[in-house]
């Protein structure tokens, strides 16, 4: 069953497993249906052929329980090994934030650019997408990379890939999300090194299908946007970014650190923790602080949360 091109190394590994299982299935299909056809022809009702009285055979029954079990276990392990490769992004990945909304995809880059329904990434470099949804569940699906991940409101999910084939790749929404679900498509452009340099410099790219025209005006980076938002939303009244004491904990060195909670638990301050701290501050109270922080759910938008977290991440 023909597959789309395999545009990452993981996709190539995926294809090996897929074809192995296709052939294994063909073998078993022929075994079952072939045996069936052979039996019904050979043992069709005939006057001179009497049926034989057989009620079971333990050896056979043990064999056909154990052999399939062993085979599916092999497939399971193989599937898990490839799956681990699919979900653990290398630490040096380029990060892009993705927001799904009915019915479009929005992309926020570290350098402050934002695009809609077109994602630009460099070839041969790992890219990690940090994704969230503004409304209902969507699913980010790139068949050429064999990756898919639901994009869920209220939390971050992520996906990564290292594209090896420059050019356009199709992005689909794979989770039903209402009227225009089937038109929630986007293009993923894998840029050659030269094109990527152009893109980063804000120059126009020579892509036939792309609608994006870049301008040279330098925009604030995502982290800088986050810093500005902290001022606008009044976070700075309670939080410092240099370690100085305020009513709330400082952001300095917060990202990926171990946070001790009031209930004695220790959690890692990853993206989902930070997000929860902003949307539902009382859910995990930091030890030594009171429940002072108001909820910002619905007050800061998805784009703004992404910028704020990018800023906190930059304070390492």
């Amino acid at each position: 069953m023909s597959l789309p091109i395999a545009a990452t190394d993981v996709a190539v590994m995926w294809d090996h497993l897929y074809w192995f299982l296709v052939w294994l299935s063909v073998f078993f299909f022929v075994l079952v249906v072939g045996t069936m056809i052979y039996f019904v022809i050979k043992y069709r009702h005939q006057k001179k052929q009497k049926p034989v009285f057989i009620t079971g055979n333990h050896t056979l029954e043990v064999i056909w329980s154990i052999v399939p079990l062993l085979l599916v276990l092999i497939v399971f392990v193989w599937g898990y090994v490839v799956y681990r490769k699919m979900i653990h992004a290398p630490p040096n990945s380029l990060e892009v934030r993705v927001i799904g909304k009915q019915w479009l995809w929005q992309f926020q880059y570290e350098d402050g650019k934002t695009t809609v329904n077109e994602l630009f990434v460099p070839v041969n470099q790992p890219v990690k997408l940090i994704m969230s949804s503004e409304d209902v569940i969507h699913s980010f699906f790139v068949p050429d990379f064999r990756v898919k991940q639901d994009v869920v409101p209220g939390m971050y999910t992520s996906i990564w890939f290292e594209p090896t084939v420059p050019g356009r790749h199709q992005i689909f929404c794979a989770e039903y999300c209402g009227t225009s679900h089937s038109q929630m498509l986007a293009d993923l452009y894998v840029l050659s090194e030269g094109d990527w340099a152009q893109w980063k410099a804000g120059k126009k790219l020579n892509l036939k299908t792309s609608r994006i025209s870049m301008s040279n005006v330098p925009s604030p980076t995502l982290a800088e946007q986050g810093k500005k938002l902290m001022l606008q939303k009044g976070c700075v009244a309670c939080h410092s970014d240099d370690g100085s004491p305020r009513p709330g904990p400082t952001y300095k060195n917060l990202f990926n650190s171990k946070v001790e909670l009031a209930n004695g638990q220790v959690v890692i301050a990853d993206e989902n923790y930070l997000r929860e701290s902003i949307e539902t501050p009382q859910a995990k109270l930091v030890k030594g602080f009171g429940p002072l922080m108001p909820t910002f759910r619905g007050i800061v938008s998805e784009e703004e949360i992404n910028a704020i977290i990018a800023y906190i991440k930059s304070l390492k």
Binding site: M1, W14, V32, P51, S65, V72, I137, P153, S182, R297
Partner: protein, 528 residues
């Protein structure tokens, strides 16, 4: 149908009220059958409309919102109103008491009440059509369903009410099997269909309440905004999926186990040989019922579920291969050195084995973590579960329907018509659904109103197949109705089978047996 010489359950009393108020399990079974076939027709029309809209990309036969309602009603009707009740409520109701040599089910009044609950649930669900129609998909995923039109509430409440009907029916069956078996019918001699219905009933009793609570919570969330499933209210969007699949995965086995039970009866009768591995087949039904409850997470591999959970659910799901393999191989071994008769019930067994093999093997693809990531939510999944649900459950249902037709109506169906219909259905089915595996592998997502031009050819093949399938199904209903009048008169035991239902007349008298049968051997003692 009427036969003036002898009295039986069909002519003992007459008039519409004698049916609507009947406590006879056979008449209740027939009322279910009639109701289920009507819904099968309605669900099927939705299917044809879906396929026609997908005949061209951007076809626009209907607009997207209407299309989304089509697949919602197609799925909800086929799952809740057709496949789940198809075998247990129709053939199970009719046959179970006969198979165990009883006069009726344990609680006949409860049985009738279940039927009306089912009809009530169905009517509530369909009432939603008059309030704009639901467009959430039969899976009702939150938070979309919470924000969707409130007509969704009717569908959900309908499924809720119909759920109680299946709980009560299951209860009735379990008690019937325990308490009303004829003298000599030890558990070790129980026909395999009864074992399958027993295992199914356990799942229904344990899993359906979870669905009921989940659906109720969903209604509360939409009406009172309590904040369990909607992240905007501080809820957890994915929690619903856990609740939903905790029921709906076992529901898959509610659909397939009874079909497997039918196959286990039909294979030995038409091979003229004992069933191979009676114990293993009976136990594997319970094996399947047990695993059913611990694999729901395989529907959530890309939902944001943790890596550890994915690992465990993938591993557990793989184990389903063993009990299903045991059944398939045992049926094949039953045919070995038999004396095979190709009557329609057996043809559907062959159809079952072909389709279910494909459905089962592609299930392994989806249980494999890495493969599922690409294949889930594409047409691969759509093809997979149609091969299992239609290929498995409906083939089993049709096999049983033909097998017991002479007993139910006292007439023989026409084998010639049955063969024509079977060929149409089996070819139509493969032409409809096999291309969908390829579409899915190529990346076409499911629930798409339109698609990219490169998917056109395979979609058109699939649509043409759906016409054949549709004609095949309609033809079955047609000749089965025609032969009620035109069919030859059936003898008590036209298939020379050994289970108890064949020891009474066709059709049976109202209380099934003139004299309570006594069982002296197991039901697969075929020595010729």
């Amino acid at each position: 149908m009427s036969d003036t010489q002898t009295m039986h359950y069909l002519n003992q009393t007459t008039g519409i009220w004698s049916w609507l108020k009947t406590l006879d399990h056979k008449r209740i079974g027939l009322m279910y059958l009639f109701t289920v076939l009507i819904f099968f027709l309605v669900g099927g029309v939705f299917a044809l409309l879906i396929r026609w809209n997908l005949f061209y990309p951007n076809h626009g036969f209907v607009e997207a919102n209407t299309y989304n309602k089509f697949f919602t009603y197609h799925g909800a009707i086929m799952v809740f109103l057709v496949i789940i009740p198809a075998i247990p409520a129709t053939l199970g109701n009719f046959m179970l008491p006969l198979l165990v040599g009883a006069k009726d089910v344990a609680f006949p009044r409860l049985n009738l009440f279940s039927y009306y609950l089912f009809v009530l649930g169905a009517l509530i669900a369909l009432a939603s059509l008059f309030f704009g129609g639901a467009d959430t998909g039969w899976t009702f995923y939150t938070p979309y369903s919470i924000r969707a039109s409130s007509s969704m509430i009717f569908v959900v409440l309908g499924a809720f009410v119909a759920g109680f009907s299946s709980i009560l029916t299951a209860l009735n069956f379990i008690i019937t099997i325990h308490k009303l078996r004829a003298p000599g019918l030890t558990l070790g001699r129980l026909p395999l269909f009864c074992w399958a219905v027993y295992a199914t009933s356990i799942i229904q009793i344990l899993a359906t309440p979870v669905l009921a609570i989940t659906l109720l919570l969903l209604v509360f969330e939409q009406v009172f905004k309590i904040g369990i499933f909607d992240p905007k209210l501080g809820g957890d969007a994915v929690l619903f999926q856990h609740f939903f699949w905790f029921y709906s995965h076992p529901a898959v086995y509610i659909m397939i186990l009874p079909a497997m039970g039918v196959i286990s009866e039909v294979v030995p009768v038409f091979s003229r040989k004992p069933i191979f591995g009676y114990k293993a087949i009976a136990m594997s039904s319970f094996g399947i019922a047990l695993v059913a409850f611990i694999v729901w997470g395989h529907h959530l591999f890309v939902s944001g579920q943790s890596e550890l959970a994915n690992f465990i659910f993938s591993l557990l799901t793989m184990s389903v291969a063993v009990p299903t393999g045991v059944k398939v191989f045992s049926w094949l071994a039953t045919m070995y050195k038999g004396s095979i008769h190709f009557n329609a019930p057996f043809l559907y067994v062959l159809g079952f084995l072909e389709l279910f093999s494909i459905g089962g093997l592609t299930g392994v693809f989806l249980a494999t973590l890495a493969l599922d990531v690409h294949l889930t939510d594409t047409y691969f999944v759509v093809a997979h579960f149609h091969f299992v649900m239609v290929g498995g459950a409906i083939m089993g249902f049709f096999s049983g329907l033909h097998y017991w037709y002479p007993k139910i109506c006292g007439k023989m169906y026409s084998e010639k018509s049955a063969l024509i219909a079977f060929v149409l259905i089996i070819i139509g089915f493969n032409v409809t659904f096999f291309p969908q595996f390829i579409l899915g592998a190529q990346g076409m997502p499911r629930r798409y109103w339109t698609y990219l031009p490169e998917f056109t050819l395979l979609n058109q093949i699939s649509t043409v197949g759906s016409w054949m399938l549709g004609i095949g199904f309609v033809y079955v209903v047609y000749y089965l109705l025609r032969d009620l009048k035109k069919g030859e008169k059936a003898t008590a035991n036209p298939w020379r089978a050994l289970t108890l239902e064949w020891q009474t007349t066709s059709p049976p008298p109202t209380e099934n047996f003139v004299k309570t049968p006594v069982v002296t051997e197991w039901p697969y003692e075929y020595r010729e």
